[in-house]
């Protein structure tokens, strides 16, 4: 899932300060799972912003809404009226949702309430970890199912570097060295010899390096 994190309230307030009518719009998929961007969080955020407005003696109308996903046309039907009657939208979606709305509603300003942080897993309730960088060319078959591109700070394909200590990454003692985990996993799978196979130069053209990516399912559209 896509993990997001709410921006500091001061930063959000600066973005919308000066507007008269703002729709605070939650997105109830990924970012709701991480308790940052669902309708519930939109309500809380709107309350905090109203308090800020009262403190500064500013008049601003903050309406709250939420849809299932801000990255698909069909889910917007229930919010069309609210969006068309507002001055601007403060979106609690990830960067995908914010952009999708900006392109869909050509004259409505859309502001991001979240920083989109990573593609990750729910390690335990309230704790999320990055697992994938969507490099477009999956290497997990040869790395024991653990990704050195997303989880090594130097994205080394032939790691680990010399900085690992006690199984932790040199840049953060809380962070597992993924190459330590890969080695342990290869050993558990009886494949430790695979460690010596050289990973060749990677084709990054399928990554961000190749420019914005699209994907079209053949035969799906006329």
């Amino acid at each position: 899932m896509i993990v997001g994190q709410q921006k500091p309230i001061d930063e959000i307030w600066k973005m919308i300060r000066g507007q008269r009518k703002v729709l605070v719009l939650g997105c109830n998929s990924c970012v709701a799972v991480c308790h940052q961007g669902g309708t519930k969080q939109a309500e809380v955020l709107a309350s905090l912003l109203r308090m800020q407005a009262v403190q500064e003696g500013i008049e601003i109308q903050l309406d709250v809404g939420g849809i299932e996903r801000q990255c698909e046309h069909e889910f917007f039907n229930s919010a069309l009226d609210a969006i068309s009657s507002t001055e601007s939208v403060l979106s609690l979606a990830c960067g995908v949702g914010v952009q999708f709305m900006a392109e869909k509603f050509k004259t409505t300003p859309v502001y991001p309430a979240l920083n989109t942080t990573f593609l990750g897993a729910v390690e335990r309730p309230g704790y999320f970890t990055e697992k994938c960088q969507a490099c477009g060319n999956c290497v997990l078959a040869v790395t024991g199912g653990l990704c050195p591109i997303a989880r090594c700070a130097k994205r080394l394909l032939n790691g680990p570097c010399g900085g690992v200590s006690n199984g932790k990454c040199e840049i953060n003692k809380e962070l597992d060295c993924v190459w330590q985990l890969i080695v342990e996993r290869l050993e558990a799978l009886g494949r430790l010899d695979d460690y010596e196979k050289l990973f060749p130069l990677k084709d990054w053209s399928k990554d961000r390096a190749g420019g914005p990516r699209t994907f079209k399912v053949e035969g799906f559209l006329p």
Partner: protein, 314 residues
């Protein structure tokens, strides 16, 4: 091993001498005098001088430019190159730039993470890793081709090295990792600074058991401790460094003004013990901001005079 390059370092190693190299960190400014002074200091006592590439991610004068200064003054440079800051276009380009000055040695590294340096907010590149850089240099040299497959006119003529840390975890892959670097093209190895001799000997045994010492020249990394403070710092703050408590207590056991001398004594004892280990082909002495001690260490370790450098470029 027959000679593959015009490298003086390769020639000395191939002749069976214990090689001695040292290191020169470029200045944080553009004054070439700093490099020339370090070069002058080391010139007669080591076979080659490594120039670090923005080590610990602190921005400095470029390794390539400093290597050129050394080359022009008659010192054999080892160009350190990290993959942190350059993509494959820039790496190949700088390799050719170095080759155009007949820089004949390169040390391929991934590089410290930028978070340790003066630009922690910067992006890193890591288009290649150190193994892939080794493969790239060997491909350019041996096949005379770019990564793309296009021909290189006058390919680089470089003796290719890599780093090895015998002390980092997981220990069980430390020998396989060396084998992997050799498979990627490494011809010489510089190790992490050695303080834990028992650990190093255990690693070397693993290296010999696989016959790897016959496929690569291993230069043992040596860094004299200047003070107890430095030893403590290295132990606690430098990732991948293994400083046993005995070193700390030995330095703590002498008065402050004697600690530097004790550090040199430890360093000389280490060299004496390492030269008895089969498979150690020489020493890489990294006297961090203490380069003036290198000649003394080389002399007192009985590694002076250095083999004559004649017969070059044949």
């Amino acid at each position: 091993m027959s000679l593959k390059t015009n490298s003086k370092l390769e020639r000395i190693l191939a002749a069976g001498h214990l090689a001695v190299t040292s290191e020169c960190g470029p200045p944080r400014g553009s004054d070439p005098e700093v490099i020339l002074k370090k070069g002058e200091l080391l010139k007669n006592h080591v076979d080659a001088v490594n120039v670090t590439d923005n080590q610990t991610s602190v921005t400095r004068l470029s390794s390539l430019a400093a290597c050129i200064h050394l080359k022009l003054m008659g010192v054999e440079p080892v160009l350190q190159m990290v993959t942190r800051d350059r993509n494959r276009i820039a790496l190949q380009s700088d390799i050719l730039g170095a080759a155009s000055f007949d820089i004949n040695n390169i040390l391929c590294l991934s590089g410290d993470h930028q978070v340790f340096g003066d630009c922690p907010d910067g992006q890193n590149v890591f288009d290649l890793d150190s193994m892939q850089l080794l493969q790239t240099v060997r491909h350019m040299r041996d096949n005379g081709k770019f990564i793309s497959g296009d021909d290189i006119r006058r390919p680089p003529n470089m003796f290719v090295g890599a780093a090895a840390n015998p002390f980092a975890e997981p220990f069980k892959i430390r020998v396989p990792r060396l084998a992997k670097k050799i498979a990627a093209g490494a011809e010489f190895i510089q190790t992490q600074c050695i303080y834990n001799l028992a650990r190093f000997e255990e690693w070397m045994k693993g290296v010999r058991d696989r016959g790897l010492h016959e496929e690569v020249y291993i230069l043992a990394g040596i860094t004299p401790m200047k003070s107890l403070g430095m030893a403590r710092y290295m132990k606690n703050n430098v990732p991948g460094m293994d400083v046993p408590d005995e070193i700390i207590s030995r330095l703590a056991g002498v008065p402050k003004e004697k600690q530097a001398e004790e550090g040199i004594a430890i360093c000389l004892e280490t060299i004496a013990r390492l030269r008895e280990i089969k498979g150690v082909s020489g020493f890489h002495i990294m006297a961090i901001e203490w380069e003036e001690k290198v000649p003394e260490i080389v002399e007192r370790a009985g590694l002076f005079p250095r083999p004559a450098s004649s017969g070059a470029e044949d």
